[in-house]
């Protein structure tokens, strides 16, 4: 079992937000939690299907976990077990995207006993959760920066747009002994922009039109812009030049619903990754989507920092679990979600980040000493 602080008293939280992050922190810290007043003011109170599915997924990657849902469904008591990992397949349903489930699994996988080899099916790209493209192009490089690189692999086998989904994603990660402390206080300057525009069960022109529109805005600031077009037809597709160049997106038939979207990532001279993504809404012209996502990316770049709002909590968690050495991060504006996450990290691990506003660059410098989390399952090489 990993190092825990389970001797500390269990914690009680309120409300359905931050559900996944508290379950994850409970597993990593070894502290039991109870979440109460889940949607008590709503017409349909209690846990919803995707939250129950998430608990089922956690049950499958752990051993000895005990999650007890209250009689009305509006409270859950979670007693964490040991992180095991292993090989499994899981249907994420269609209420939430695969990103909802994959994001926490990726943070847990390095600390499991066995290699985690997981195939998730469901909605790969939606506007509610992180798209699998952004997870692959931002989240995985972030893990590598913190020393998680052995056997890290993610493959999008099939695209699945809402409402019916039908997409499939493969993820593999080997256990690591410990993370690395990082000094990531220099956001650098943006040197290139990469992206993927996908279309599934639609005309490939949707992807290329959104690319052209995005490029028209992106090229005003930087010439090094490359956005792949990734088309999935309803039938078995042939491997295109774009997919071959990517080398990671296997050409396969699309999921069950038509959809298109675009995911952009700006990379800085210091390796900072800032992303923006969105899917085409019904009736939205591809040009509007391309411009909207390009503006979102510029908005993220303007805020500064080494990551965008979507990945601030991942960086904070990895710094918390890093060795007992000082790590530094630089964020743009702290979101309410990040502020709550900082408070939760303090509750679970007793870690308090030192926060310093940099008025010149309008960013926040965060520093903390990691708790020295080690995965005792992994032998020293």
């Amino acid at each position: 079992m990993s190092s825990t602080v389970s001797s500390l008293p269990p914690l009680e939280f309120e409300g359905c937000n931050y559900f996944r992050q508290r379950i994850i922190l409970s597993l990593l810290s070894g502290r039991a939690i109870r979440i109460i007043n889940i949607r008590t003011d709503e017409a349909d109170p209690g846990l919803v299907d995707y939250e129950v599915a998430f608990l089922k997924l956690i049950d499958r990657v752990t051993n000895g976990t005990n999650a007890t849902i209250g009689y009305t469904g509006s409270s859950v008591t979670f007693r964490p077990g040991a992180l095991i990992g292993g090989k499994l397949e899981f249907d994420c349903g269609v209420s939430r995207g695969i990103g909802y489930f994959l994001e926490p699994i990726i943070t847990l996988a390095p600390f499991c006993k066995k290699p985690t080899v997981i195939t998730l099916t469901g909605i790969t790209n939606s506007d509610n959760d992180l798209c699998v493209d952004t997870i692959r192009t931002v989240m995985l490089p972030t893990l590598i920066r913190f020393g998680i690189e052995d056997g890290l692999e993610m493959k999008i086998n099939r695209r699945g747009a809402p409402p019916l989904g039908g997409g499939e994603v493969f993820f593999r990660c080997l256990p690591v002994k410990a993370l690395k402390a990082v000094d990531f206080s220099d956001a650098g300057r943006i040197k290139r922009i990469r992206g993927i525009a996908y279309s599934a069960r639609m005309s490939p022109a949707h992807a290329s039109r959104s690319i052209e529109a995005a490029r028209s805005l992106l090229n005003k600031f930087i010439p090094d812009v490359y956005i792949y077009a990734d088309h999935y037809s309803g039938r078995k597709a042939k491997k295109t030049a774009a997919t071959t160049a990517l080398g990671e997106i296997a050409a396969a038939e699309a999921g069950l619903s038509p959809g298109y979207g675009i995911s952009l990532v700006a990379e800085s001279t210091t390796g900072a990754l800032l992303s923006a993504e969105s899917c085409g809404a019904a009736g939205e012209p591809p040009e509007e989507l391309g411009l909207r996502v390009a503006r979102l990316l510029y908005s993220a770049i303007d805020k500064g920092g080494i990551c965008d709002a979507l990945f601030q909590n991942l960086h904070l968690l990895l710094v918390t679990l890093s060795p007992e050495d000082v790590s530094r991060l630089r964020f743009g504006k702290l979101t309410p979600y990040t502020i709550q996450y900082l408070q939760d990290l303090k509750e679970f691990f007793g870690i308090v980040f030192k926060l310093k506003a940099d008025n010149e660059s309008r960013t926040v410098l965060l520093s903390a000493m990691g708790i020295g989390f080690t995965n005792v399952h992994r032998k020293i090489d």
């Binding site: 937000n17 931050y18 702290l334 506003a357 008025n359 926040v364």
Partner: protein, 94 residues
């Protein structure tokens, strides 16, 4: 832009995030109940605490939506340009 300017104001971030007891131990926030569970003080916003978890919109509540009007603002464009390696020359277009 006014919101962006506000960021420049000197605020005690430590106090803003962790409250007055930033230097206290994590275990001092509340007493355990009969079952041993220690209630954690509610979120900074109770409205936020009851939103759906993980939705991208939640994460962007800090105002990440790129306002179209902003693209007419020379200050915004200048600050944005300074973030790119091509920014020094003011180069536009490939």
């Amino acid at each position: 832009l006014a919101e962006r300017m506000q960021v420049n104001r000197r605020v005690n971030l430590q106090k803003l995030v962790y409250g007055d007891g930033a230097e206290e131990d994590a275990g001092s926030a509340g007493k355990p109940d009969a079952d041993g569970f220690r209630k954690v003080r509610s979120s900074t916003s109770s409205q936020l605490a009851h939103m759906d978890d993980g939705a991208k919109l939640n994460l962007h509540l800090g105002g990440d939506v790129a306002d179209a009007d902003l693209w007419e603002d020379p200050d915004f464009l200048a600050s944005l340009r300074s973030r790119f390696i091509t920014g020094d020359t003011g180069a536009e277009g490939a």
